[in-house]
């Protein structure tokens, strides 16, 4: 038997922890990491359907974030706005079947519940120059007063679709389609070079 929580990240064989790029005397401008073993489930439903709203609230423990670009958090679970009728539930639960089943049970079949845990590679970008690195890639306004913790935006970096979540002032999660992960990883490393950057160990969850 294999342990099904032992999931192989798209970056597994391209990942080397350490400090790279310009000399930074122990103060890298950017920190990079990959977050592995997350459960990610897409939920699509009608925003005016009270049954749906209640079902999600009971399953996730938080309200659906209706405001475009916002995120609701309940403990280790985040409910992330993707579109007017679509959200992404993310938790650190390593067996994605559990989150999917919970949501599936809570909702009737006018609601789509789709496991996408393996569809995205989640990269964590942090450090004092993290916003500058994002500015290199995406045509979005990353000013600290505009893109604040708890905001999400889907945009393009280096010709790839990326969903960006601002975790705190200097920390961001990038949801990248799995097949693009290596390209995005290389791009992030190139863009971080001039500031000096550190690749930390793979984050489990």
């Amino acid at each position: 038997m294999v342990d099904i929580t032992e999931r192989r990240s798209a970056l597994e064989s391209h990942y080397t922890a350490g400090t790279f790029g310009a000399e930074c005397n122990g103060h890298p401008g950017v920190m990079l990491a990959v977050r592995r073993n997350l459960s990610i489930v897409h939920v699509a439903g009608k925003p005016d359907d009270q049954t749906f709203i209640n079902a999600i609230k009971s399953a996730c423990g938080c309200d659906i974030p209706f405001e475009p670009g916002s995120v609701s958090v309940a403990g280790s679970l985040s409910l992330i706005w993707l579109a007017a009728d679509r959200w992404m539930a993310v938790s650190a639960e390593p067996d994605p079947g559990i989150l999917e089943a919970t949501l599936r049970r809570a909702c009737d079949d006018t609601v789509a519940v789709i496991d996408a845990s393996h569809a995205s590679t989640v990269l964590r970008l942090s450090g004092p120059q993290a916003r500058t690195v994002l500015m290199k890639g995406a045509p979005l306004d990353f000013h600290a007063r505009t893109f604040t913790p708890g905001r999400v935006a889907t945009t393009m970096i280096s010709q790839c679709t990326v969903t960006l979540v601002c975790i705190d002032q200097d920390t961001f999660d990038l949801y990248v389609f799995r097949s693009f992960a290596q390209h995005m990883w290389e791009w992030l490393r190139d863009a971080s070079e001039e500031f000096g950057y550190e690749v930390s160990d793979i984050l489990s969850g």
């Binding site: 475009p68 993707l82 579109a83 007017a84 045509p139 979005l140 889907t154 945009t155 393009m156």
Partner: protein, 92 residues
């Protein structure tokens, strides 16, 4: 260009995909149409100088389609609305 997605707000043109003329409605019963009427729907488009109602998709964003009233001479965008909204302004 910056295009205002009705949900995501002002975003770069690079995130969007043009999806055609918003004034063309697909006939609900195509089989009842004559060849000419079908041809009109399928192939014939006006090419107005000035304001034009268009469908855009926020392809590399929330992926929703919406309507935009754009001046094709100046690229000014007077209004954007969800598909069931009605566009305001622009025409002088």
């Amino acid at each position: 260009m910056l295009i205002k997605c009705p949900w995501c707000g002002d975003r770069s043109l690079a995130e969007f995909s043009y999806q055609g003329d918003a004034t063309i409605i697909r006939p609900s019963d195509p089989l009842s149409l004559s060849d000419n009427q079908w041809n009109e729907y399928l192939n014939l488009r006006n090419n107005p100088k000035g304001w034009h109602d268009e469908i855009w998709q926020h392809l590399n964003g929330c992926r929703k389609h919406f309507k935009a009233r754009r001046n094709v001479v100046t690229h000014e965008i007077a209004d954007t609305k969800p598909m069931d909204g009605s566009l305001q302004g622009g025409r002088s």
